[in-house]
């Protein structure tokens, strides 16, 4: 019969029990997961589904980058933990809302385009590196990611003003 694997890394998905865990933030901003009698320094928390289900299936990594486990539902955590994680997630997945599209120009045949947009944080000049950085699958809600990894969202493309729609339509 077949030989057993020489090396078998951990492939189990650990679901973190919401009633047994809590997050605290130290004065130096380090986030720590308290799980029973263990305190685990946290390096990052990532969303498994940042677009379709951003507040569920949050993957927690320790300071060595190893996966600690998965939070199935953010809403089941205590309010203090929620506050800490919300800050962490909103900083990592910061998404600016595009209110108007002022100008769009094609930069090269590779599909790069330069967008001048008015967001909730003022006017931004961004480069979108190709159509795979523009998600239209939930149209009229549109997601964009710029070359410097900043996320943008148009909550309802059809609700934009005529000029915005006219200049942006050919690039979607």
């Amino acid at each position: 019969m077949r030989e057993p694997l020489a090396e078998e890394p951990d492939i189990e998905v650990r679901v973190l029990p919401p009633d047994q865990i809590r997050f605290v933030q130290l004065p130096d901003q380090q986030i720590v997961l308290i799980w029973g009698d263990r305190a685990i320094a946290i390096q990052k928390v990532l969303r498994a589904l940042p677009i379709s289900d951003p507040w569920r299936y949050l993957v927690v990594y320790d300071s060595d980058g190893a996966e600690v486990g998965v939070i199935k539902d953010f809403g089941e955590l205590d309010s203090k933990s929620q506050e800490i994680l919300r800050r962490e997630l909103e900083a990592r997945y910061k998404t600016l809302v595009i209110k108007r599209v002022l100008k769009v120009e094609r930069l090269s045949q590779s599909g790069h385009s330069r967008w001048q947009v008015e967001t909730n944080e003022g006017i931004h000049d961004i480069v979108i590196p190709g159509s795979d950085h523009i998600h239209t699958s939930r149209y009229p809600r549109i997601f964009l990611r710029s070359a410097d990894s900043q996320r943008y969202e148009i909550p309802d493309f059809e609700a934009l003003d005529i000029h915005s729609r006219r200049v942006a339509r050919d690039f979607l």
């Binding site: 077949r2 694997l5 492939i11 189990e12 498994a48 589904l49 299936y57 998965v70 998600h135 990611r145």
Partner: protein
């Protein structure tokens, strides 16, 4: 064919009749204005009756308002009906395409099929909903005008309508000329669609072989074929329809000459002449349409032939009437004297295969290209049925298994894994759409894919691009292993699963595969023989026959083809190591 085409209207028959009633009412009302005009000219104006003039004008306004209202209702209803029929036709065609066996796809090009689902179905819908209703409107218009004309003045009616029979004969001749052109045109469009889907998908190969110029030339030839065919149609069309128009105009000239003289002689009123002239002008529009309808009929016929050709194709592999759905599957496969030849090929690919794979065993298949390895594997999920002999799963002939049940127990990981243009999560859950996210992540972890997925900015929401183009070959393969793991099949087919990935990916994939094949009956095909050493049994195929069978050690001891292949690969791998060290 026509009855079948109109059967799509049957479920909506009450709406079709409503639409028809609206059409008839609208047509009748729209023919009344010339009669009112005659009354204005012959009664209101000579009698200087303002009262009558106002009444007639109000009647005219009422006719236009009613006609507009009916037109709005009719247009909406017909469009709704058309879209519904179109959607159902496309669904029927696509659902049937999904049922057809692989042998059908072996002999039809993707672009041709796409062109039938989009272009041809659109032509048929347009015919059923719009053209047929227009035909009824035109026939009714011609009938009513004919009746009005003959009722008003028989000699003038005969003069005015004299060209109609000639036009009818011309349109019959036109039909014979135009149908072959339409057929040619539909196939030319299908060919062009097929060419486009092929070359745009393979644009990297085109570029690496520097063949852009040649592809443009090939496109031009196909494009030219469409142009030339269209021009033949345009030639006929441009000669035929103006010719028809001329005939109608000649009759109008005759009416002016003869009717005008009668008005001068006082035997005909100016109002009646005006009414006849107006009706004649309205008469030849529908006649023109009727001739054009013939054109549309021929176009629709060409499209319907192509669509029904697919719908009439019976799948080669289908459920037998007494198909069974066993609840439990052990994964015990037996091949008894299996022979197989592809359709239209006299040369058998498999020539009497006898083989047993016990539940949970791994069979490795080795052999040169064209030896029949992939064909043998393709018979297990019944992509094709054996030409002769029997394949049994758990002592039951595969042909007695319910096809969906059988395939639900089989997983495949191929050399070039096909991912759909969807998110990673959607690709992973393709075989198990109801899997929860924890199961998805577990499968991705076992496939050594979870970490690279989480490193992507959009995680499991990442769109992989067409055929997974935005991922590396190794990443695609790990997603396909995760997909197979999530499906949790009892039988697993690995067809060169690690042969097109780099060494680092190969290790991760091999590790994932080892997890995948635990507890499953596995049929693994590989050129890289090192990946098959764990197999419980190996067979060497040559020209569709098993020439060696045994474990790795037994086959090495037998000193035959297998040993020779292993030695060649060992020497090649040593040479490559020396070369890489020298660098």
């Amino acid at each position: 064919m026509w009855r079948r085409l109109f059967s799509y209207l049957r479920p909506e028959w009450h709406w079709a009749i409503t639409s028809m009633i609206l059409t008839l009412a609208m047509t009748y009302i729209s023919l009344l204005p010339p009669t009112l005009m005659q009354k204005v000219l012959d009664e209101a104006i000579p009698k200087k009756s303002v009262d009558l003039l106002v009444k007639l004008s109000m009647a005219l306004l009422a006719i236009y308002l009613l006609s507009t209202l009916l037109s709005v209702l009719r247009t909406y209803l017909m469009s709704w009906l058309g879209q519904k029929i179109l959607a159902r036709m496309r669904m029927d065609l696509y659902a049937h395409l999904q049922r057809l066996s692989l042998s059908f796809y072996d002999s039809h090009r993707t672009g041709q099929l796409m062109s039938r689902i989009t272009g041809d179905v659109g032509t048929m819908e347009s015919f059923i909903v719009h053209s047929v209703q227009q035909l009824i409107v035109d026939l009714l218009t011609v009938g009513v005008i004919g009746y009005f004309l003959f009722r008003t003045d028989v000699p003038l009616a005969l003069i005015g309508l004299a060209p109609a029979p000639i036009m009818f004969l011309m349109s019959i001749k036109y039909k014979d000329l135009v149908l072959p052109i339409y057929r040619r045109l539909r196939y030319a469009w299908g060919d062009l669609s097929s060419f486009l889907s092929d070359t745009l998908a393979g644009v990297r190969v085109v570029k690496v072989f520097n063949q852009e110029g040649q592809e443009v030339d090939r496109f031009w030839k196909k494009n030219k074929r469409i142009f030339d065919t269209n021009m033949r149609h345009v030639f006929l069309w441009s000669a035929f329809f103006p010719g028809m128009g001329l005939l109608g105009s000649i009759s109008l000239v005759a009416i002016w000459l003869i009717g005008g003289r009668q008005v001068m002689e006082g035997t005909l009123s100016l109002g009646v002449l005006t009414m006849i002239t107006l009706y004649l002008q309205r008469f030849y529009g529908p006649v023109h349409n009727l001739a054009h309808f013939n054109d549309i009929v021929q176009s629709t016929k060409a499209s319907a032939e192509r669509v029904f050709e697919i719908l009439d194709t019976v799948p080669d592999v289908a459920n037998s009437p007494d198909a069974v759905k066993p609840n439990k599957v052990r994964g015990h496969l037996i091949f008894r004297n299996v022979k197989f030849a592809y359709q239209d090929s006299k040369e058998p690919v498999l020539k009497g295969i006898n083989l047993e794979i016990r539940p949970g065993e791994m069979l490795g298949i080795v052999g040169h290209s064209g030896a029949g390895k992939s064909t043998l594997a393709a018979l297990i999920p019944r992509f094709y049925d054996v030409t002769d002999g029997i394949i049994e799963l758990d002592r039951l002939d595969l042909r007695k298994w319910d096809l969906a049940t059988l395939r639900s127990h089989i997983g495949m990981v191929l050399q070039d894994p096909y991912l759909f243009h969807a998110t990673i999560k959607e690709n992973l859950t393709y075989g198990k759409p109801d899997a929860d996210m924890i199961q998805v992540m577990r499968a991705a972890k076992a496939a050594n894919a979870h970490q690279f997925i989480m490193d992507l900015p959009d995680g499991y929401d990442t769109y992989v691009g067409e055929r997974g183009i935005r991922l590396s070959g190794g990443q695609r393969q790990r997603i396909s292993i995760g997909r197979a793991l999530l499906k949790d099949p009892k039988i697993l087919i690995l067809d060169e699963a690690t042969s097109s990935v780099d060494s680092e990916s190969e290790y991760a994939i091999q590790q994932a595969l080892d997890r995948l094949l635990k507890g499953r009956t596995t049929i693994a095909i590989a050129h890289r023989l090192s990946t098959l050493r764990k197999a419980d049994k190996l067979i060497v195929l040559e020209s569709g026959q098993i020439v060696e069978e045994g474990t790795h050690e037994e086959l090495m001891a037998a000193n035959g083809t297998y040993r020779r292949l292993v030695e060649i690969q060992t020497r090649m791998s040593e040479s490559l190591s020396v070369l890489s060290e020298a660098r």
